[in-house]
């Protein structure tokens, strides 16, 4: 008995020691004392400081190995301890940090929600940035001055700014990937004028189906495909005048798209395409890859993707035109939702940060022309080169693959910066110009931001918590059922009634109040 006890005790002891070793490693976070900040130029601080930074990792490289951070450390004298959980589990990790009060000094590319910002700023966990911006961030201040709508959007309900956004007003303001026609199909059918009404579109889709535009002698053409409805529904709803399936603004009035009569027209139209077998019957079950496989086999006439070429497995070119939005019978003009041009809440400083001034100066660099160019492309020869000695045009190096992701965090996530127009345009090639023109002609012309990014009060959030998720799930389910004909349109009134019961009114009311508050500022 004694021996047994001895063995057991020694085992426990060993384990205790192991655990002890481990714990001595903890506390490697930042705890640099406050240091003097240089107000201009580099380095930002004379004495090196280390801050802790929390950001999502897309899984290509460790952040401490990235050239961007190594260079920035040399220039600014600010180093970081990185906590970068995988992008897919970032949300969970973020909530754990707040729950365990283990805050990093800096939230970077963290995509906080507006309700996060409201909640944690009230608790004092995030610090207000307004004064810091005025004093230490001339580039951020210039940006806010240039775009008052951004300032309006990022100002929290208490009148302070707690986070900085990623701003890009140069790239095409797509809210989602646009839709493209298969140019080969159009050429085979001698179509020179793109359809402008929903009826003309229907006729064209019928021709795609029946006239064998891919010329293989088989009736294997799929006129219109999608991988779930979100893939294409922003466009098709827009043809009938619905700007969003959920809350959207119509001349200052907030409406819930999915219960409007115009939305019913959209469903009926999609149902018509479905019944005529013009809309891919695998649309609700296939994955993006399966959809892509059909594109590469040259079977699809009309589809949504970031580029037509990458969908069809060929070089991008101006051969494939962007879809011309068509007009429904009861509207004068379609409406296409566009991106507000910024991704909010990508940068915040927590109350544990002992050097908020230095941090602010550090991030301000990403909002300057040379700073945003540096984080996007680093130095010449890393990812791009000048095309000639005038050094005005840049071109990406060949066969980069994922190389960018090993050098800078600006890959696959929205990092806080203000994209510099001159830098962006210096890359523009023929295809980019084509896309830009197509976007101006076919999206921006009809474009509207469905709903500005609004701050809700804690009370308002409580009111609609739960309702929103239920509503979206119900509407989405019914959208599929109406389109596939699983439920006849005689059930429409019942559907609207159920949606109202779940709480459409409440949601609309809350958003109307918040929108009015936003508009009044």
């Amino acid at each position: 008995m004694k021996k047994g006890l001895l063995v057991f005790m020694s085992m426990m002891l060993v384990m205790g020691v192991l655990a002890g070793c481990a714990s001595s490693k903890e506390g490697a976070g930042s705890n640099a004392a406050k240091v003097e900040v240089n107000k201009e130029g580099f380095p930002i601080v004379d004495e090196k400081i280390t801050l802790s930074l929390f950001a999502p990792n897309v899984g290509i490289a460790k952040w401490q190995d990235m050239k961007y951070f190594q260079e920035m450390e040399k220039r600014t004298n600010i180093a970081f301890n990185f906590n970068t959980p995988p992008n897919e589990s970032f949300e969970t990790q973020k909530n754990l940090l707040f729950a365990s009060n283990e805050l990093p000094d800096v939230f970077y590319a963290a995509s906080l929600t507006n309700s996060d910002v409201t909640k944690y700023s009230e608790q004092g966990l995030l610090i207000p940035l307004d004064d810091l911006i005025d004093e230490y961030a001339p580039n951020v201040a210039a940006m806010l001055e240039k775009y008052p709508d951004i300032k309006k959007t990022i100002t929290a309900l208490d009148g302070h700014i707690y986070t900085l956004p990623t701003v890009n007003r140069t790239s095409p303001p797509w809210n989602i990937h646009p839709m493209w026609y298969n140019g080969d199909f159009l050429a085979a059918l001698n179509v020179t004028e793109l359809p402008t009404t929903t009826d003309e579109l229907y006729d064209l889709l019928v021709r795609f189906k029946t006239e064998d535009p891919n010329g293989n002698g088989l009736p294997d053409e799929i006129p219109l495909t999608a991988a779930e409805m979100w893939d294409i529904n922003q466009w098709f709803m827009g043809f009938f005048g619905v700007v969003a399936r959920a809350v959207g603004t119509y001349d200052g009035e907030v409406k819930y798209g999915a219960i409007q009569p115009e939305y019913k027209e959209y469903l009926e139209y999609m149902n018509k395409l479905w019944k005529a077998d013009l809309f891919d019957h695998e649309a609700f079950s296939q994955t993006g890859e399966q959809k892509g496989a059909k594109g590469k086999k040259n079977q699809v006439g009309l589809f949504a993707n970031w580029g037509a070429g990458s969908f069809m497995g060929v070089e991008e070119s101006d051969k494939h035109p962007m879809m011309q939005p068509v007009t429904g019978p009861n509207v004068s003009q379609p409406v296409i939702p566009i991106s507000p041009g910024q991704s909010i809440n990508q940068f915040a400083i927590s109350n544990t940060n002992k050097n908020p001034e230095a941090t602010m100066r550090w991030i301000d660099y990403s909002y300057s022309p040379e700073g945003s160019a540096f984080i996007k492309g680093l130095d010449e020869g890393d990812l791009w080169e000048f095309t000639d000695d005038t050094k005005t045009k840049r071109i990406n190096l060949k066969d980069l693959g994922d190389k960018k992701g090993t050098m800078t965090p600006e890959y696959g996530i929205n990092v806080p910066l203000w994209a510099d127009e001159a830098y962006e345009l210096s890359f523009a090639n023929e295809y980019d110009v084509f896309v830009k023109n197509e976007t101006a002609e076919k999206i921006v012309k009809y474009g509207q931001v469905a709903m500005p990014q609004l701050f809700l009060t804690a009370e308002e959030l409580d009111q609609i918590a739960g309702i929103n998720a239920d509503l979206v799930a119900y509407v989405e389910q019914m959208e599929a059922k109406f389109i596939t004909g699983a439920i006849p349109f005689s059930e429409w009134d019942k559907y609207v009634e159920t949606a109202n019961k779940i709480g459409v009114d409440k949601v609309v009311e809350v958003y109307q109040t918040a929108y009015d508050r936003y508009a009044a500022n």
Binding site: V7, A22, S89, T92, I176, Q290, W306, G313, G412
Partner: protein, 297 residues
């Protein structure tokens, strides 16, 4: 030799039919994945490849073998599996033997307390706080210590000891002057090979497949186990209509989708092969061990 009666024949017919169906259902996904891993992803996605490989390419395997993260993950998983399983056994076997002894005072109470933990757990955030206070965050021990003893396995083991080792054996050993430790090491352990093998398999598979602890508690990418590395390659960020992004982000995501498409099946094979190889060797213990534990208990 007796001829089969009619009813025997009917029975056999259905028996073979059902077994064949079961075999097809189980075997098809395995063959599909093996074939898909060496087929061109486009043909797999378009559904043209459904049984035998088409458009054979080893690009997927090449990418897997060229990826240093996967190898590092492999190494980590091997460490976690061997070290973790050893500690699991070191804890489980003595604990369950002690609980199986009728002369162990308070064993009912201790068993009861253990059982409670099967039904009530702390939840994610309290667990996180505990692990954090123990200083285990971002160390390999977080992969090994928190689940060192599984109550379910302790109960299975205890039942085995109670059922298959006769009390007389213990008595006679004691009369011959064996202490408890001698009894455990010299008599009980040699008789328990089947249950030890079964436990090693249970725990080993658990460690091999586990990723959740790593997901929550490990930050240093050098410590990621294989499954987490695979998850990072395969799980594509969910795109939604509400998401706004610029061209660079879209391009990165499309790149990732293409890579995931190519390596998906190769990665599945590489990650499960070791278990598939080990399993037949452990299986004889497995069947015997569980039978002894349950039937005679």
């Amino acid at each position: 030799m007796l001829l089969d009666t009619f009813s025997d024949k009917v029975f056999k017919f259905f028996n073979y039919t059902f077994l064949t169906m079961a075999l097809v259902v189980v075997l098809y996904p395995v063959i599909f994945i093996v074939s898909a891993s060496i087929s061109s992803p486009d043909l797999v996605n378009s559904g043209e490849m459904w049984l035998l490989p088409k458009g054979i390419t080893f690009e997927g395997y090449k990418m897997v073998f060229d990826n240093p993260q996967i190898w590092n993950g492999y190494k980590n998983t091997l460490i976690y599996t061997f070290l973790g399983t050893s500690i699991n056994l070191l804890v489980t076997i003595p604990a369950s033997y002690a609980l199986s002894r009728k002369d162990f005072v308070g064993r009912g109470l201790i068993t009861g307390l253990l059982l409670v933990t099967m039904f009530v757990s702390g939840g994610l955030i309290p667990s996180y706080l505990l692990i954090k206070s123990l200083g285990l965050i971002d160390t390999i021990w977080v992969m090994i210590l928190p689940g060192a003893a599984s109550v379910y396995n302790i109960i299975v083991c205890r039942t085995f000891f109670q059922g298959s080792i006769p009390g007389e054996l213990e008595e006679s050993a004691k009369i011959d002057g064996a202490s408890n430790l001698t009894l455990f090491l010299k008599i009980i352990l040699p008789l328990s090979a089947p249950i030890i093998a079964v436990m090693a398999l249970f725990y080993g598979v658990g460690h091999w497949n586990s990723y959740f602890n790593a997901l929550i508690y490990i930050r240093n990418q050098d410590l990621y186990p294989l499954q987490l590395v695979l998850r990072q390659i395969l799980v594509l960020q969910e795109m939604s209509a509400e998401m706004t992004m610029d061209a660079a982000t879209a391009e990165a995501m499309q790149n990732k989708a293409t890579i995931a498409d190519t390596v998906k099946y190769a990665v599945i094979i590489v990650a499960t092969l070791p278990l598939i190889v080990i399993y037949p060797f452990m299986q004889r213990f497995f069947v015997k061990g569980v039978m002894i534990g349950s039937v005679k208990g």
